[in-house]
């Protein structure tokens, strides 16, 4: 019935989109950008915008491999000294040249941003001293050997010296937003849009679009509709429910990649008895905590049919996981594969551990944080119930979930972890190292898993400069913590998907950043 106008509209839209393409690109973002200050709130949507305007010393490519950015090269002179050679002939958007002074100012500003809800100071803590050897060389000293310094530097956006004393409102108004990146700041309307214009004097490859408009469209159905209507030419975080239809749609194409985020189950392996949500098979409170037994954790892992979850619930937008990160990342194990669905093996392990009749559990899960989080939990609970461990699900908004989880109010929970550093020490340190505020370990270890062998391997790896040796240690730690002891049970890696109008191409990124200067016209 609506056919003819639809065709007409499609033709008209097609024409307008084509003619506007080289000029302007509109992108629908899934989460609001809350600030223009690159050091105020360390949050993916904010960092994503900052990466257009500002640059880091070290860049990460779409697989999070380190690439020269504002630094041409970097090397460890000795175990605690790093020499960073800066790129010459780089200019700020206002024309002043970029030098080592700017880097030093940035490092000084980062720990001192007032009211910052999530600062970048964590990446600065290992650095005890920074100085400029010459205008294009920076020498950084770390407290102890810190091999991840280049990864940390990839998170820190460099601002000009004159912006050191600028406040967050100065950035939000645009006054202080002067970077070296491929795009210049044009407009920021909180909760609505960010507009950027191309930096003609950029030192790197020229972006394909003269102007970029980021629109914050948090409702995912509306975001898809905006793409189909041609109001935006690109969207991030395509919802799984629409993947099938979009794949068939001639007007758009999809770009996806297995991301660095794992969805996992954490079990209370800390409490010796009276774990709050463990009951016996009949549902009565139980004193013993079966989750402390690695065989029980392994049995739970074997009861989960990961392929079914990935194909049915995630519509193929997930890859079954056997460790913290896909194998392409540094420090991962070549030996670990996802546990196969094996109810017989699980039964045997449960009997061996002394629970032939099973026991009862409650799985706590957020319902607005990860893709299909509550549905995954429902599926896991059904698999476990079928396998002799009657499991209830209690879902709640992430605002409630994480507070309660960190107060150790749960026995069994589902959560996710994105490795910000792009290598395997990040999950090892936060999820399965022994909780230790002094060392900053185990901050997200909500099951209080603890194993001296794993701790030792991770700690040594964290101070081993040699990449290969460190990689082997991290892999060994993963094999012990996940493969052998099941400190956490990996479920799957999320797949991140972008949708673009025909004629455009985007290389999907594992870190989920949406970067306009990486969008190409495919002709």
């Amino acid at each position: 019935m609506i056919r003819p106008p639809r065709l007409l509209a499609a033709i008209l839209l097609g024409v307008t989109v084509l003619s506007a393409q080289a000029q302007e690109l509109s992108i629908g973002l899934s989460t609001p950008v809350t600030t223009m200050d690159p050091h105020f709130h360390n949050l993916t949507p904010n960092n994503s915008i900052a990466k257009h305007i500002f640059e880091t010393l070290v860049h990460q490519d779409e697989q999070q491999a380190l690439k020269p950015g504002l630094a041409e090269s970097w090397r460890a002179v000795d175990s605690t000294t790093w020499e960073i050679k800066l790129r010459k002939n780089v200019r700020w958007h206002d024309g002043t040249p970029f030098t080592a002074e700017d880097v030093l100012s940035t490092l000084k500003r980062i720990p001192n941003v007032p009211n910052s809800p999530a600062s970048f100071a964590i990446y600065m803590r290992p650095i005890v001293d920074a100085k400029a050897a010459d205008p294009h060389t920076v020498i950084l000293k770390t407290r102890e050997a810190h091999p991840l310094l280049p990864n940390d530097l990839a998170t820190i956006h460099i601002i000009p010296k004159k912006a050191e004393a600028m406040s967050t409102p100065d950035f939000n108004s645009g006054k202080a937003v002067i970077g070296t990146g491929p795009y210049k700041f044009a407009e920021y309307v909180s909760g609505d849009r960010v507009v950027l214009t191309v930096n003609d004097k950029y030192w790197g490859p020229k972006p394909a679009f003269a102007k970029v408009r980021f629109r914050m469209i948090t409702n995912s159905a509306a975001r898809v509709a905006a793409l189909l209507a041609g109001d935006v030419q690109m969207i991030e975080a395509v919802p799984t429910a629409d993947i099938e239809n979009l794949r068939k749609d001639k007007r758009v194409s999809l770009a996806s990649v297995v991301s660095n985020r794992i969805i996992y189950l954490h079990l209370d392996s800390g409490r010796e008895k009276n774990s709050p949500f463990v009951t016996d098979a009949a549902g009565k409170p139980m004193e013993a905590n079966p989750l402390r037994d690695a065989r029980v954790r392994k049995a739970i892992s074997k009861l989960i049919d990961r392929n079914a979850i990935a194909s049915r619930i995630m519509e193929g937008e997930a890859k079954p996981a056997g460790q913290f990160l896909p194998e392409t990342f540094h420090g991962t194990s070549r030996k670990l594969t996802p546990d196969k669905y094996d109810p017989e093996g699980a039964k045997k392990l449960l009997a061996e551990a002394g629970y032939p009749n099973g026991f009862g559990l409650t799985l706590h899960t957020p319902n607005n944080r990860y893709v299909n989080d509550e549905k995954i939990s429902q599926a896991v609970a059904q698999f476990l119930t079928r396998g002799g461990i009657p499991t209830k699900v209690e879902a709640m908004p992430s605002a409630v979930f994480f507070s309660r989880g960190s107060k150790l109010e749960f026995s069994f929970l589902l959560a996710g972890w994105g490795a910000g550093t792009g290598e395997n020490s990040s999950p090892l340190r936060s999820l399965v190292s022994t909780f230790d505020p002094k060392l900053g370990n185990g901050a997200a270890n909500r099951g209080r898993f603890s194993d001296a062998g794993v701790d030792a391997l991770v700690q040594t790896a964290l101070t081993t400069i040699d990449d290969t040796k460190r990689g082997i240690m991290l892999a060994a730690a993963t094999e012990k913590a996940v493969g052998e002891l099941m400190g956490v049970i990996p479920v799957h890696y999320e797949v991140s998907t972008w949708g673009v109008r025909k004629g455009l191409a985007y290389k999907a990124r594992v870190d989920q950043y949406t970067l306009a200067h990486e969008v190409k016209t495919s002709k």
């Binding site: 509209a9 910052s116 600062s119």
Partner: protein, 324 residues
């Protein structure tokens, strides 16, 4: 009259005070904002730093005390997420919501009263029956579904209107307003229609019921017997008498359209207060949520006050009496 208004204003202060306590306590119980705000990679030291920077390391009663102290000085605290005064963040979003509410009310009153009058005066015509059937759809279909349907039909299939977002704004007396340009109206049309549908149906049904009731009363019969033209009987005598309940409902609906346009705003990516507050609740941005609810409560009280004053203007029998 003056005493009456003053007494109402004093009550307002009390209500605001109670609201602030309830919301503050409620959000405190929901969870710890630090858990949501920090980057997941943050270690324990960074978490402690965030708590201290936002004043969340103090006991809750002390936090509330500080908040009250600020409130009486007109400072509702700084947003955790934006690092700016919460009231400023809210007021910045207010024009977007107000213009949507204004358009929606215009549509629902402008269409609702004439359609309701028609349906009430000629209840047996087919058109009237169609109007009434339509109004049932209008308030029984869920807003988010209608919103998506409107987008699919008018933006995706027909391509007549933009799917989401707010049009270009211009500065009018210091506020950025988008509905004074054709382009801006194109953006505002679908969301305000979506917002208006429910109110429109309500007003149609209410007007019709009133008309059916009043049309049979003696004063109408008398006016007609006196030989007054039909237009005057309907336009002056009838309309004035059905307006009293309508004003109450319109007043309350105006309040709810401003305060609870959340669903429409998030579907149409309209950068108003509703979208702000839903994001703030998810991020436990307590200062913004508290400030928003205080603003909303204040607004409702004011609207009610205006409605009460309007009553006496519409119906001379209603006098705002001094309480004994």
């Amino acid at each position: 009259m003056t005493v009456y208004v003053l007494r109402r204003l004093a009550q307002t202060l009390l209500v605001l005070f109670v609201t602030s306590g309830l919301v503050f306590g409620g959000l405190y119980l929901v969870g710890d904002p630090v858990e949501i705000l920090v980057n997941p990679q943050a270690d324990q030291e960074e978490r402690a730093r965030t708590a201290a920077a936002l004043g969340l390391d103090k006991p809750v009663l002390e936090q509330y005390g500080l908040f009250l102290k600020g409130m009486f000085a007109g400072d509702l605290g700084k947003s955790f997420v934006f690092g700016r005064p919460a009231l400023e963040v809210i007021l910045e979003r207010m024009p977007a919501t107000l213009e949507l509410a204004f358009l929606a009310m215009l549509m629902s009153v402008g269409l609702g009263i004439p359609l309701g009058l028609y349906a009430g005066l000629y209840p047996d015509r087919k058109t009237s029956k169609a109007i009434m059937a339509g109004s049932i759809l209008g308030f029984s279909l869920p807003t988010f579904w209608v919103g998506l349907l409107l987008i699919m039909v008018f933006a995706v299939q027909l391509g007549w209107l933009p799917s989401t977002g707010r049009g270009p704004t211009e500065n009018v007396f210091g506020f950025s307003i988008s509905i004074f340009s054709v382009e801006g109206l194109r953006y505002a049309f679908l969301p305000s229609l979506n917002l208006a549908l429910f109110k429109l149906s309500l007003i149609i049904r209410l007007t019709r019921a009133q008309v059916r009731e009043q049309a049979l009363l003696d004063y109408i019969r008398f006016a007609r017997a006196k030989g007054l033209p039909r237009s005057r009987v309907i336009g002056v005598h009838l309309l004035k008498n059905i307006l009293i309940p309508l004003v109450t409902v319109i007043g309350l609906e105006l309040g709810s359209v401003i305060a609870f346009a959340i669903v429409t705003e998030s579907i149409f990516a309209w950068p108003g207060m509703g979208k702000l507050v839903i994001d703030s609740i998810f991020q436990l941005d307590r200062p913004v949520v508290v400030a928003y609810l205080l603003v909303v409560v204040f607004m409702f009280i004011m609207i009610n006050l205006v409605v009460d004053v309007l009553y006496s203007a519409l119906d001379p029998r209603v006098r705002i009496a001094e309480a004994k």
